[in-house]
Symmetry: C2
């Protein structure tokens, strides 16, 4: 068996079509969504991600403002920036790019963003709604992107055994809540580096999600033949044969494509969905503020 | 094998000893913790629960104020009551007893309680911290009680397979997050009414938690011999042989005591722990406000 490729780029493009219509409707009422991106320091991967987000804004005619802060910026300076953006009525969405410089408390900064402008969906008040069983608010982008991708691909989620490897606040934890919601109805297992018999556990999965950030950690023989595999990992591995000197690989061994029934590629799987959901959240914040 | 009984009453009594010391320390600085309980309508079970909470306050010299509202009270009247209690500096903790009258949005009311006075731990901002990996705040009482009970009983949680049957915002969802936290390290499965092969899934559990509210739903042969069983359910079943006409039973068949290595009884298992954790949260809010 060779897996059907779950094409995140194509799904993201479909989402952008819908967003463009909503952006046009907003423009007709005199509003253009406006995203503010705060980036602190010179992390090269962050600059790549922020660049991709800004290009998506350009494609969709979403206004974006980038605030570059020096790696030496203090916690208080970042706090002041967030407070200023909260108070700025022209800004709909605020995103503080991770990682912040070592020692700066990312969660504390996240929780200072106005929940109504929290386009990353990482604010405690937004994450807490998932525990309450309410998914109508701003959802974290990567987990929301995975849900959309499963839906778009026609994967049967209700009653399925989903195993998520990784328990981050960004992906694993919120995705487990989304998959277990009433009406979604997967039976969800959260596994992690301390889980015993991880391979056998993964082989029970109808839907296997890898979100650990470790190249090829999930071996092909951890995948049950016919399972659906969602690979959230984006890892750089050295590759002198490329002009950049590295290539991107997922958390799942590429040979798993011979075992799964459907699988996301890396790159071109979950990555584009994360950006599409960020755009979706930004349009959403503008619509909500427009309705106020 | 006959299971060791995990004695929630004894564990709760141990917790009360520690709380009394903290309450004495607060009193020395001129503060007494003060819990406000709002009860709307005449639900008989609610009155029993609120009575038990008030008796716990009396045992511990925690001041308690009960606000009785008619079953005909409007949403706005309940909102006004909560706002008044938020603003009242003499009140440390606020609890709105569930269930509210039919049609009244409980989650909306919960989210109006000041997060710093949210002794039930159900506010989105408090639940969201669990997704963020932070368990230092006000935790929901029943899940926190289960965690304390496992610790008190010496149950090995790290690396264990935990299966939680039930995905409520009150128990199943937050407990899954607590068990999966870094440093706790259980491998957690959230199962529910839509889960397939529920019996086989439960038999994989080292720690089986039943939190569905359905008498005896979890059959004895769903329990792996030697597993630890935590029965969160409290269900009334008719029993003409008793003076009250009913008795309380859990979600797990009583014959599971012959299979498990350790198991909580109903009543006297998780129930007393929920109240102990409510008292603990109330003392906590008073300490936090005292430190301000």
């Amino acid at each position: 068996m060779t897996a059907e490729i779950i094409d995140g780029k194509a799904c993201a493009a479909d989402i952008e079509v819908g967003l463009k219509q909503r952006i046009t409707a907003l423009a007709a009422s005199g509003r253009s969504p406006h995203l503010a991106v705060v980036i602190v320091g010179e992390d090269p991967a962050s600059r790549v991600y922020v660049g991709a987000k800004q290009r998506a804004c350009e494609r969709l005619a979403i206004e974006s403002t980038r605030i570059d802060m020096a790696s030496t910026a203090s916690f208080d300076e970042v706090v002041s920036t967030v407070r200023r953006l909260n108070a700025d009525d022209s800004i709909d969405g605020i995103l503080v790019q991770s990682p912040l410089p070592a020692g700066m408390d990312e969660v504390a900064i996240t929780d200072l963003i106005s929940p109504a402008k929290d386009v990353d969906g990482f604010h405690a008040a937004n994450l807490g709604r998932l525990v309450q069983g309410d998914t109508s608010g701003l959802l974290p982008c990567t987990p929301a992107g995975v849900m959309r991708l499963l839906d778009w691909s026609g994967v049967e989620v209700s009653g399925a055994r989903a195993v998520i490897v990784g328990r981050s606040r960004i992906v694993g934890m919120p995705l487990s809540l989304l998959l277990a919601q009433k009406g979604v109805d997967a039976t969800v297992t959260i596994a992690h580096s301390r889980s015993r018999e991880l391979a056998a556990l993964c082989r029970q999965a109808d839907i296997l999600v890898a979100a650990v950030g470790s190249a090829g950690l999930v071996a092909a023989d951890w995948v049950r033949p016919g399972a659906v595999v969602i690979d959230v990992g984006v890892n750089r591995v050295d590759d002198p044969g490329t002009t950049r000197g590295y290539r991107l690989v997922g958390d799942v061994e590429a040979t798993a494509f011979e075992v799964a029934s459907a699988m996301t590629p890396v790159p071109g799987g979950v990555g584009p969905m994360t950006i599409a959901m960020l755009m979706s959240n930004t349009v959403r914040t503008a619509e909500m503020r427009s309705a106020d």
